[in-house]
Subunit: 114 residues, 2 copies
């Protein structure tokens, strides 16, 4: 069994569950970076608060109190989640509003073999 | 909507997808710790190599070459994965053998809402 044939593995990369075949080195780095965005309690709570919001959207002004951190800190975490592809951001007036990117969390779950 | 009622949320904690209701603080810490175990390219590759092994089991001696790291480093990563509940370890003769804990990755995927 060839474990490190990155070329072959990459061609089937997008949807191969982690359990089905060995991850190539490049895939592993990309997936680990995605996991790092999720590997923080504040970011997980922010994601779940945004997702559970009535209209699927939350103003940064409504996220500060629930997590008990300053606005710059909350905005920093939201930026990491946005850069990792989990949230979209739109600015309206004074505030930024965040929405979950549909399917983004599910795709990570799929890779894990859920 | 009460976002921080940890008592209520904990009672439904085990299987509530991240998108369904806001995570409580304690749940978020536990899930982030699990994610941290997965947020490393070497550990992701080790997991997938073990999982894709012919009989679902891999000797640490067979994991060193594919990831290109020293045995102590590989053993360190395997210990983190074992402590996080993703692998079981059994010692036979000179070597330790690792297996994926059935369903452990899938449960993380389920929480993400896969």
């Amino acid at each position: 069994m060839t474990l490190l044939n990155v070329t072959d593995i990459s061609s089937a990369a997008c949807c191969a569950p982690l359990e089905r075949e060995p991850l190539g080195a490049d895939e592993a780095v990309a997936l680990a970076n995605t996991m790092k965005a999720l590997a923080d309690p504040t970011r997980l709570r922010l994601l779940s608060i945004v997702a559970a919001s009535a209209d699927g959207e939350a103003c940064v002004c409504d996220l500060i109190e629930p997590v008990g951190l300053s606005q710059p800190t909350v905005s920093h975490h939201l930026k990491i989640l946005t850069n990792a592809g989990f949230l979209t951001r739109s600015k309206r007036g004074t505030w930024a509003y965040y929405r979950l990117v549909p399917g983004a969390l599910g795709r990570v779950g799929d890779v894990l073999g859920a």
